[in-house]
Symmetry: C2
Subunit: 381 residues, 2 copies
Amino acid sequence: MAMEVAQFDALVLRLPENVLLLSGFWPMIGAAFLVFPLDGTPVCIIPDCYKAEASSALRSVQPVFFSYGLTDSPPSDDAVRKLLSALPGALNWRRIGYEAAFEAIAPSWNSAESLVPAAGTVSLLQSAFPNALLVDASGLLKKERRTKTKYEISRLEIASEISAIGLEAFQHAVDVGRTGVELAADVEREVMVRATGYRGAVRVRAYAQVTVGPEETSLGYRPNVISTTRQLRRGEIALLELGLVADGYWADRTRARVAGTPSELQQAYFDTVVLAQEAAIASIKPGISASTVDMAARSTIQSAGFANFFPHITGHGLGFGYHESAPILGPRSQDVLEAGMLTSVEPALYDSSFGGIRIEDDVLVTSNGSKVLGPYLKSLI
Amino acid sequence: MAMEVAQFDALVLRLPENVLLLSGFWPMIGAAFLVFPLDGTPVCIIPDCYKAEASSALRSVQPVFFSYGLTDSPPSDDAVRKLLSALPGALNWRRIGYEAAFEAIAPSWNSAESLVPAAGTVSLLQSAFPNALLVDASGLLKKERRTKTKYEISRLEIASEISAIGLEAFQHAVDVGRTGVELAADVEREVMVRATGYRGAVRVRAYAQVTVGPEETSLGYRPNVISTTRQLRRGEIALLELGLVADGYWADRTRARVAGTPSELQQAYFDTVVLAQEAAIASIKPGISASTVDMAARSTIQSAGFANFFPHITGHGLGFGYHESAPILGPRSQDVLEAGMLTSVEPALYDSSFGGIRIEDDVLVTSNGSKVLGPYLKSLI
């Protein structure tokens, strides 16, 4: 890591996604603090109720536990402050990096509540390290997240293979009369039940959003859509947006299906999207600009005569979260692809009368090209 | 609101939970900004793809939309900055309150990603309002959240009634051979499918954690537990922790069930927990100290001879999130109950050889006592 360049004496992190990045341990909530010094052994300060999970997951990091959440536990800020102050060398640290600028936060497995670094964290760190300057380390962490290591890729492959289980569940569940809410709930249930334990995955959760019919699917480009109780009618499209986390590693997939037999126009739209995705994926390799990959998809769609129906970017980075900022596959992107980057590739067509179709897979940039993680059938039927 | 006392000229908020608090609109993600001036009409700046939801939900708040997430959208920070700067009177604001100190964040419906106010938000606000001082308004907002309005109570009742649907699904699903993962997935699915549309609820999501058997349930006091693939055996306890959100309003429930016939000891533990919960609820009324309510539960457990088996507090506030900081029903709490407060009441017993049992309901402090929202059967069988 470029800590020396950035002149940090230590990083102190609490977002589960960044604790995972630097320690291999994905905390259940943001109550654990990872201390990553420039010199010396990293330490993770962890609520004692997570002793079992932490001990088995931490790699090259020393765990320290504190009593948490019980009536006789000291206030946890006090406990953490004491443990931070007592770290070897801590008194000599002058610049400490923390997560000041993470605005998009990945949830933990339960995801009903996230603990994030705000004013309370800053004041905790300042009182634990009164002689140190607290400096934003988000740039360093995001840079570290741009490309994935071999180990991380192996874990991201598991997440993508699990997402294919969700796509399969959707493929089977779509039928006339079913609602978006039912389809989304089915996909989420199937993933949790069938994929927990898959290749060692312990904590698996799917976040499915299913739109049905022209009015809903034509808005399917929205970053978050609501599954509703509207029923799917014969001949209509159902569109699944699937976010998925397996032990802290993310996948992001989309498939479309028709209830019954697709019309010729639906099939033409679908085939165009498939071709656009194939063109984009075929263009991916180290050194190519992200805007060129976007253009590969976009020009395929333009050639088919649907230029106005693809209003969003072709893809985005991901891995330690549902979305990451590098690379962005879009017309205005300045990114250049590097081996080890992971990006979604998700061309689409939306038309208010016809509806929407999108296909999304997660693609790894390899040393000489690309690899689709967790490949799965693309079919309207 | 006490804005005049706090001397804010305006609040600018982006956490969905606080936008809901002050506007009635629960944004899909934290990309909307609510501006709540001391004088004048509140304005909500919203990505245009959420026009339909926002327009129907906003009460006494003027919506302003900006193009979001498309290839021809200007960067959204720029769009928001321009709209903020152009607000009537904005140039005269000297003190602007924002959410500097929210460390526990409630997710939105999709919950795969949260946008939170960090360094980017601060710099956005500072550039939009160069003459204003940005001041933490978390204290004011948390105070506003301490007691619930009549309207909020009606919405929280819907969330609690929906959580009872989840408790019922659990009651029916528990059986020999089933795993915690299966039971949790079933509860989450049933809630989404059966409760979307219930009394007008549009966005419903359950977060279930189910532990089974002595080893797992005896750790059931942990703030977040992991459902596993361990199978429930005859005579063992399954313990459900259920967080639930319905259109931004939360419920937090727990039930225990035995697969088959409970042992005498299990029944004795269970009956003690029921009595402890009843004693705590019976003590709830405006003016009573929260520590007295805790003691009502705790002394019941002590009298039964199980003093060492109840290591956590009796309850906590909730409503705009899974957990809120007021009131805390614990031995060291300084809180005094007020009409309109909502608190969980969740006594429990945990013993490493026996396992764990907890019962949790959400209780409203009324003008002359208390009311359990969404009441549901308590039974081991």
